[in-house]
């Protein structure tokens, strides 16, 4: 009766993993591999544009305007990817004020003073984990890898559209705390890249939270 039996097939793993049974469980190595693949993919998207722009300019200087258009594409593609990453920390529509207040109280009970203060300023919850330093939002989370240079943005949310915003964050935070590896496996990777690339696409408050996560990550590693 008083036992704390764990759920899921593995000890302590998230039950939601059953819905993504085909995915290998994430770990630091797979995260690093995903980051490199993401970088390679970005290079593969941009280098042809840069190469074509250089070639056109060299062969026919009169095509310089076209070369500028190609360079604009080479610039825009990584920016669009970063914007997609920044989108995971967007805020959603709020519920009624009473519900929001109650949800905020519960979330506050789950946090220590520093995390509560950061959430009050930025709306994001900072959580240290084995994969890095997480920032948990309402409909996603990002993790700053040890060293504070690379960030991984995940799209993940609680099911149901009627939850107060703080409850959405609390759902993700509790799942993350219960099984960080499972959380990173269930969530969909939306972006991976340098922190500075993501920072430019974030709002000012989210930038503050990212700065705190990068500093925490740099100190921890």
């Amino acid at each position: 009766m008083a036992s704390t039996d764990t759920a899921g097939a593995d000890n302590g793993s998230l039950p939601e993993l059953a819905a993504v049974y085909w995915r290998p469980r994430a770990d630091r190595r797979s995260l690093t591999r995903s980051g490199r693949l993401w970088t390679l993919s970005t290079i593969a998207h941009t280098v042809p544009f840069i190469g074509a722009a250089a070639l056109l300019t060299a062969l026919k200087p009169v095509t310089l305007p076209v070369a500028f258009i190609l360079l604009a594409h080479a610039w825009a593609i990584p920016e669009l990817y970063a914007a997609r990453g920044a989108n995971v920390v967007r805020t959603l529509a709020q519920a009624g004020p009473d519900a929001e207040q109650r949800a905020l109280g519960l979330l506050g009970d789950l946090l220590d003073h520093d995390a509560r203060e950061l959430h009050g300023r930025t709306g994001l919850v900072l959580e240290r984990g084995c994969l890095g330093v997480w920032l948990v939002a309402q409909a996603g989370a990002l993790v700053v890898a040890p060293g504070g240079r690379r960030v991984y943005c995940y799209c993940v949310k609680a099911t149901g559209a009627d939850l107060p915003s703080a409850d959405r964050t609390a759902h993700l935070l509790l799942a993350l705390r219960a099984d960080e590896i499972g959380f990173a496996t269930v969530a969909n990777l939306a972006f991976s890249g340098a922190c500075w690339r993501l920072r430019r696409r974030l709002c000012a408050t989210a930038r503050d939270a990212l700065t705190a996560a990068v500093q925490t990550s740099a100190v921890a590693s």
Binding site: A99, D112, E127, A139, G140, V156, P164
Partner: protein, 74 residues
């Protein structure tokens, strides 16, 4: 006093409160706990920063048991 709460559209709802020394209250809490799990909720006991535990049986001695909805990649 232990509490079983459910995160829902109201912020959260306290479903039942009990003490380990009150068998009737414990039985009521277990029944409420199982009913929520049957509805698709997952139960978590938070142990502070970085630590929480998924539970499938009611931990009678835990001060706070939280029921959450499933999460999914967006």
């Amino acid at each position: 006093m232990s509490r079983l709460i459910r995160m829902d559209q109201t912020g959260h709802t306290t479903l039942v409160e009990w003490t380990a020394e009150d068998p009737a209250a414990v039985q009521e809490a277990i029944a409420a706990f199982r009913a929520e799990l049957d509805q698709g909720y997952y139960a978590v006991v938070s142990h502070g920063e970085g630590h929480a535990e998924q539970v499938r049986e009611l931990p009678v001695d835990a001060p706070l048991v939280i029921l959450r909805r499933p999460i999914a990649g967006g």
